[in-house]
């Protein structure tokens, strides 16, 4: 029984990783958004599994919130924003590290996160073993996407991946910090996305570009 449960846990974690790789391996913003949507749906499924295993009902609410906010509202908002942008954005053309190298770097990051998690003294727990490295890997890959890609849109996507990793981290390690705080975190994300959408409009209008490299007026020289 326990091994089957562990298999289910690890496989759902693996599917989550695949969804994360979907973002690293693709170039178009719409592809990212779709990958993010799948990732969030899987994440809410994973959360529900954690809820089932631990038997804490609050986690189901968190899973529902994840489903609604991250897989419906945020992608909708971002789709709307990109439609309305004055600059048409189709593909990320020249990231700092090429797509193929970044895919491999992400795989190394996954290995790194498994290694790191083994170094930290956790209580042996199936959920922790299965999901914690995955969440760390998401966190690292998010950071990597954030620094590697050149457009503002992809930085938003990087932030979203990081955030998903954090959510899974908290869920896996502590079976959810209390519901009130989670709702607070969700509100923070939502407001953050709204603000960054406004900023996206302004950047596209004042800089005539979505390239992060253009944002370099402020320097010490």
């Amino acid at each position: 029984m326990d091994t089957i449960q562990f298999d289910i846990l690890t496989i759902s974690g693996a599917i989550l990783l695949i969804a994360t790789f979907g973002i690293v391996a693709t170039r178009g913003f719409m592809d990212w958004l779709n990958a993010y949507r799948y990732q969030s749906i899987v994440l809410s499924g994973v959360t529900a599994i954690i809820g089932y295993v631990t038997g804490i009902w609050e986690i189901y609410i968190a899973a529902g919130l994840t489903l609604v906010i991250k897989s419906i509202i945020i992608p909708k908002v971002l789709t709307y924003v990109t439609r309305k942008l004055e600059i048409e954005f189709k593909l990320e053309t020249n990231p700092y590290v090429s797509i193929r190298a970044s895919v491999i770097i992400s795989a190394l990051l996954v290995a790194l996160s498994y290694f790191l998690i083994q170094q930290i003294p956790f209580k042996s727990d199936q959920i922790v073993n299965a999901y914690l490295p995955v969440s760390m890997a998401q966190f690292f890959i998010g950071l990597f996407v954030l620094v590697n890609r050149r457009t503002v849109l992809s930085q938003v996507v990087g932030l979203l991946i990081i955030e998903n990793g954090l959510f899974l981290f908290a869920m896996a390690l502590t079976h959810g910090v209390s519901l009130l705080i989670e709702i607070g975190i969700f509100v923070d994300i939502l407001v953050g996305i709204l603000i960054s959408s406004i900023l996206l409009f302004r950047i596209s209008r004042t800089f005539d570009s979505l390239d992060v490299g253009k944002l370099e007026n402020l320097r010490d020289d």
Binding site: I4, I8, G13, A14, R100, V103, A107, V110, Y114
Partner: protein, 313 residues
């Protein structure tokens, strides 16, 4: 006595592969035609093609050396030898004592090596072009292939195909997570190895896009028949490996007539379904630029690497 029976079954498995190979090609072509709203040739058409080619005369350029003439035979021999090590509907092959998965890959590499040489040997610009492209792709594919095979080998304990496939058929209904990653990696690699879209378009004769076809462009008659047949045998071998490693359900694990029959029927079903799936996939993607192909292979390498990491969980 038992040994005798297993050897006979082993031979039958080889025969099944050799005979069914053109049929699989036919199924894929038919499905592709249907998805493109064409009626398409009969699924037996590859057999007719082979028969027609065998009956025809051969034209050989006087600029070629023995390599050109020997290549089809070496290629065919290498790939047919590989077929001996593949469990098809029984999770065991008596010839597995002599060779394992790595030997199969080695034999494929040998065949490919001679095909590339033959492409260069005719001294036409097309052949050289095809060979250089093929070399680039295979040089990239090889490490990815080995990585994903390591994942499978570590999980199921060994590269011997008999132990590997019987271990996978005995494992639980849910595969290990690393196997999912290995499957993704291996699937991409198999598309590349068999020269399917988006790596290579097997149906084209445009000099800009073709890879495999350019190398065998100068062949005709019996040699061409051999080359084409070897190619479809290679394809069915790789597909069989894929389904037997990753979806081993239904494969017979004992030498009883009933289980063998079930194993054979499920094998036919699975391989046709897999062929249809590949055909659908081919209809939905376009061929990628040659220099974007490393992106795809990078994904295969990355997923296999994650698979290896998960092995040591």
């Amino acid at each position: 006595m038992l040994n005798m029976i297993t050897i006979i079954i082993g031979l039958i498995q080889v025969l099944v592969i050799l005979v069914l190979a053109p049929l699989l090609t036919g199924i894929i072509r038919k499905t592709k035609a249907r998805t493109q709203k064409r009626i398409g040739a009969s699924i037996l058409q590859p057999y007719y093609d082979l028969l027609k080619l065998v009956r025809k005369d051969e034209v050989i350029s006087d600029q070629t050396s023995w390599i050109f003439r020997a290549c089809p035979w070496i290629n065919f021999a290498a790939i047919t030898t590989a077929a001996f090590f593949i469990p098809v509907f029984l999770a065991y092959t008596p010839f597995g004592l002599v060779g394992d998965l790595l030997l199969v890959i080695g034999l494929f590499a040998l065949g490919r090596f001679f095909t590339m040489l033959a492409g260069l040997d005719v001294a036409s610009s097309f052949g050289g072009l095809g060979s250089s492209r093929e070399m680039m792709i295979s040089a990239l594919l090889e490490p990815a292939l080995f990585l994903s095979i390591f994942v499978v080998a570590i999980t199921y304990g060994g590269t011997n195909l008999s132990t590997l496939i019987s271990a996978s058929s005995n494992s639980s209904f849910l595969p290990h997570p690393q196997i999912i990653f290995a499957a993704i990696g291996l699937f991409i690699i198999i598309l590349g190895e068999t020269g399917r879209l988006p790596f290579d378009n097997p149906a084209t004769h445009l000099e800009l896009t073709m890879v495999h076809e350019t190398m065998i462009l100068e062949y005709s008659g019996k040699s061409l028949a051999l080359m084409e047949w070897s190619q479809s045998i290679k394809q069915i071998i790789l597909f069989t490996l894929m389904i037997n490693i990753f979806v081993p359900w239904g494969i017979s694990s004992s030498i009883l007539l009933s289980t063998l029959a079930v194993g054979f029927l499920t094998f036919i079903g699975k391989i046709s379904l897999f062929g249809i799936f590949v055909a659908f996939l081919e209809s939905s993607v376009a061929k990628w630029r040659l220099f974007r192909i490393p992106d795809l292979i990078a994904i295969a390498i990355a997923t296999s690497m994650i698979g290896i990491v998960l092995c040591y969980l």
